[in-house]
């Protein structure tokens, strides 16, 4: 029987090892798998490479891993946000390697890893510093740069509902990097608000089919970036 439901957050992330490359879903507060990330922070795994759109805020989510010194490299499109002081400091002090990637190139490179595409040509970044050192090529009169896939050992994703096969349905803009990242990691670990019986998810609305998911852990009341950051600020001001 196929049963990907995992009993706890700790169990779900138990085999994430030092030096792992991890795709982390989420765009700002939406879709950020904070419960999985905080379990990973507690586990103390080190030397991680994080691939994600943002770098977290306050000391929440990815920012907590960064603050703990668990991350050696981050691949992202927009590390700076209001209250992203942890990554600001680490970067200024040269304590983290940053690979800055245009947002669409990041998403497409992740999809490529999941789709077996060895590389692709995109017009994005042509003529900019982010294209420096990359192969350029004119196709049909237009200039492109070659971009390569970004594969990961693990993906940490948040979705709304999942079943024991691993099918996922997302909630609104939570979807963001979920589907491409689920495809692009050796082991895909998903926190869902609700585990449902097989057949309960609308087959037309399953944005991540079961085949791309390895573990599903139910977190009925997920941590909220907004709430946690507000608490931190309250404590800091107390």
């Amino acid at each position: 029987m196929m049963n990907k439901i995992t009993g706890s957050l700790d169990e779900a992330i138990a085999d994430i090892h030092d030096g792992a490359v991890i795709h982390v879903g989420g765009f700002g507060l939406a879709g950020s798998p904070i419960d999985l990330l905080h379990a990973l922070a507690d586990k103390g795994t080190r030397d991680l490479t994080i691939v994600s759109n943002n770098a977290g805020v306050g000391r929440v989510g990815i920012a907590r891993l960064l603050y703990n010194g668990q991350v050696s490299k981050i691949v992202c499109s927009f590390p700076r946000q209001q209250n992203s002081t942890v990554i600001d400091d680490l970067h200024r002090e040269g304590k983290i390697e940053l690979e800055l990637v245009p947002q669409g190139t990041l998403a497409e490179r992740i999809r490529a890893a999941g789709a077996g595409v060895g590389g692709f040509y995109t017009p994005t970044s042509v003529g900019t510093p982010l294209a420096e050192g990359k192969e350029h090529r004119v196709i049909d009169g237009k200039e492109y740069v070659l971009e390569l896939p970004i594969h990961a050992d693990f993906a940490l994703i948040k979705a709304e509902r999942g079943d024991r096969w691993g099918n996922l349905v997302y909630h609104k803009a939570q979807r963001n990097f979920g589907p491409p990242m689920c495809m692009a990691a050796d082991t895909t670990i998903v926190q869902v608000r609700q585990v449902v019986d097989l057949g309960e998810l609308d087959p037309e609305a399953i944005a991540t089919p079961s085949i791309f998911v390895d573990r599903v852990v139910e977190v009925p009341d997920p941590l909220s970036e907004r709430v946690l950051v507000a608490e931190e600020e309250k404590q800091a001001n107390a």
């Binding site: 947002q103 998403a107 589907p179």
Partner: protein, 224 residues
């Protein structure tokens, strides 16, 4: 010197140039104001690059959903007819040339329509987001900006000295004193403030301008 447009007035002016039925992406910051000043008889659909088409305004109190944010990570809503999709699909939409208009801010615009708007080059921590994708893929790129920096330097320059976002991508600059189209013949002033002499506009601009034969006065209602 006549009164320059306010940020809201620039947003209003940009709105006049967004045709009915357009699919539009508004950059973070000043471009977001455009949504507030669209002609009421037009139906415009907003795309947010994090995976929303048909994005609506901020939610009413009690209606907030933390999983529904826009590209600026602010809480928004979805209009009837809206849809959700993932990031790779969203940027396929952007990079595939399907967005009619994107509206962005700028640090510098070159004579040939190069745009620099993502880093001042000495940022402690740079961030690029979707700007390079938007300028590479959108059918038209509208720039909203003050005409000059706070220090008085022109933002429209011969060559951008700041790192580029894209080359030759700017369609039109909507500044607080003029509307300037960028094309193969260089920058052409389509509108300038009533009472603003061409020479003065030229003086505040880093590259030679031409005045369109059918130029119009740049006007906007009082909006604060």
């Amino acid at each position: 010197m006549p009164e320059p447009l306010t940020r809201n007035q620039i947003a209003w002016r940009v709105g006049r140039d967004v045709p009915d039925g357009s699919f539009v992406n508004l950059g973070i910051g000043m471009p977001e104001l455009v949504a507030n000043f669209l002609p009421e008889d037009r139906e415009i659909v907003f795309q947010s690059e994090n995976g929303i088409l048909g994005m609506g305004p901020r939610p009413e109190p009690g209606e907030e959903d933390e999983e529904l944010v826009n590209a600026g990570k602010k809480l928004v809503t979805l209009l009837p007819g809206g849809s959700f999709f993932h990031h790779a699909d969203s940027f396929a939409m952007i990079r595939g040339g399907h967005i009619d208009i994107c509206v962005l801010g700028a640090f510098q615009i070159s004579e040939t329509g190069d745009l620099a708007n993502w880093t001042t080059g000495n940022d402690a921590l740079p961030g690029v987001g979707g700007a390079m994708d938007l300028v590479a893929g959108s059918k038209r790129v509208f720039i909203m900006t003050t005409h000059n920096t706070k220090g008085g330097d022109p933002k429209i320059v011969k060559e951008c000295t700041l790192p580029l976002t894209g080359k030759g991508c700017v369609s039109t600059v909507y500044s607080d004193i003029a509307v300037i189209d960028f094309g193969p013949d260089g920058p052409i002033v389509r509108e300038k403030l009533d009472g603003l002499e061409f020479d003065e506009l030229q003086e505040r601009t880093g590259v030679p301008l031409r005045l369109a034969n059918d130029w119009q006065p740049l006007e906007a209602p009082a909006l604060g």
